[in-house]
Symmetry: C2
Subunit: 126 residues, 2 copies
DNA sequence: GATATTGTGCATATTCAATGTACACAATAA
DNA sequence: TTATTGTGTACATTGAATATGCACAATATC
C-alpha cells in the first residue's frame, strides 16, 4: 500500500488519499476482499492525524469502493470485473471529456489535441 | 461578457471567474484593449459580493492578462498573437497532460485514451 | 469644483480542512 | 468470563481560505 502526499498539488489530504486508493482499486492493485491498512497506521506512516484518512475512507465507502466494519477494519468491496472495467472507462472518459471541452473552447482542433495528448503520454514527468 | 457560476464544480467563485475570463481572452472573444465590466456590475449580476470578483481580476492581472486603473476600470492587456498562441497551446498541454497522467494511472493504453478523446470531441454535451 | 463612477483596503463572518482526544465495538489471550 | 489489544467513530477546537459589507482613494464627468 504505497501512499504519498504532495503539498504542491493544492488538493486536501483526504482528496489525495481518495484519488490514490481509487486508482489502485481501478487498476487492480487492490482486489475485492483485500484489507486496507488501519487508518491509524496510515496516519502514522504519513505523519498526519486520523481525520483525513477517515474522511478518504468514508468517501470511498460512499462511492461503493470499500466497506468498513468497526473493530475489524476496512476491505475492498466486491465488484465484478465488468463493472470495474466500465467504471474505469467512465472515469477516464470524464477526465478526457473535460480536457476535450477545454481544448475546444480554446479553439484547438482534434488533431492538435491528439498530438498534445500523445506528447504528454511520452513524457509523463513534466 | 457572459459569466456564470456553478455550485456543483466545487471550485471557489473567484477561481471560476478567473477560468472563464482566461478562456475568453485565449479564444479571442476578448481582445487587447477591451474593457471589462466594473467589478460591482459583475457582482450584482451574479448576486455575489465584489471580493471574489476583485480577486479574480487580481489574479488575471498578476498573470498578465489584464490591467486595472483606479477610477477608469480594467482592460485586456496587450499581447502579441504569437504569445497568445503559445499560451493557448501550453494551457491545453497542461490540461491534457493531467488527463494523460490520470489515464495512465488507471492502466489505460495511449490508444484507448485517444479513442476516448475523440469520442468526447464528437459529443461535447454529455 | 461637485458629483458619480471606478478600483482598493480593512474588519468581520462563514466555511472547510486538519488536529487531538475520548468513545464504542470486535477479536483474541489469559 | 474477563482483560487486553486493535479497530473504526464522534466531538470540541484550531487555523486557513473564502466571502461579505462598509469605508476609502483615485479618476472621470458635468
Amino acid at each position: 500500500m504505497d501512499l504519498f502526499l504532495t503539498g504542491s498539488s493544492g488538493l486536501p489530504i483526504y482528496r489525495q488519499l481518495f484519488d490514490q486508493l481509487c486508482a489502485q482499486i481501478l487498476d487492480g492493485r487492490l482486489k475485492s476482499g483485500d484489507a486496507l491498512p488501519p487508518i491509524r497506521a496510515v496516519a502514522k506512516e504519513l505523519s498526519i492525524s486520523v481525520i483525513p484518512v477517515k474522511r478518504a475512507w468514508e468517501e470511498l465507502e460512499a462511492a461503493g469502493f470499500i466497506e468498513s466494519f468497526v473493530g475489524r477494519g476496512c476491505f475492498i468491496a466486491p465488484m465484478s470485473a465488468e463493472k470495474l472495467q466500465r467504471l474505469k472507462a467512465s472515469m477516464a472518459a470524464d477526465k478526457l471529456s473535460d480536457a476535450a471541452a477545454y481544448c475546444r473552447s480554446l479553439g484547438l482542433s482534434l488533431a492538435e489535441a491528439e498530438r498534445l495528448l500523445s506528447d504528454a503520454w511520452a513524457s509523463p514527468g513534466e
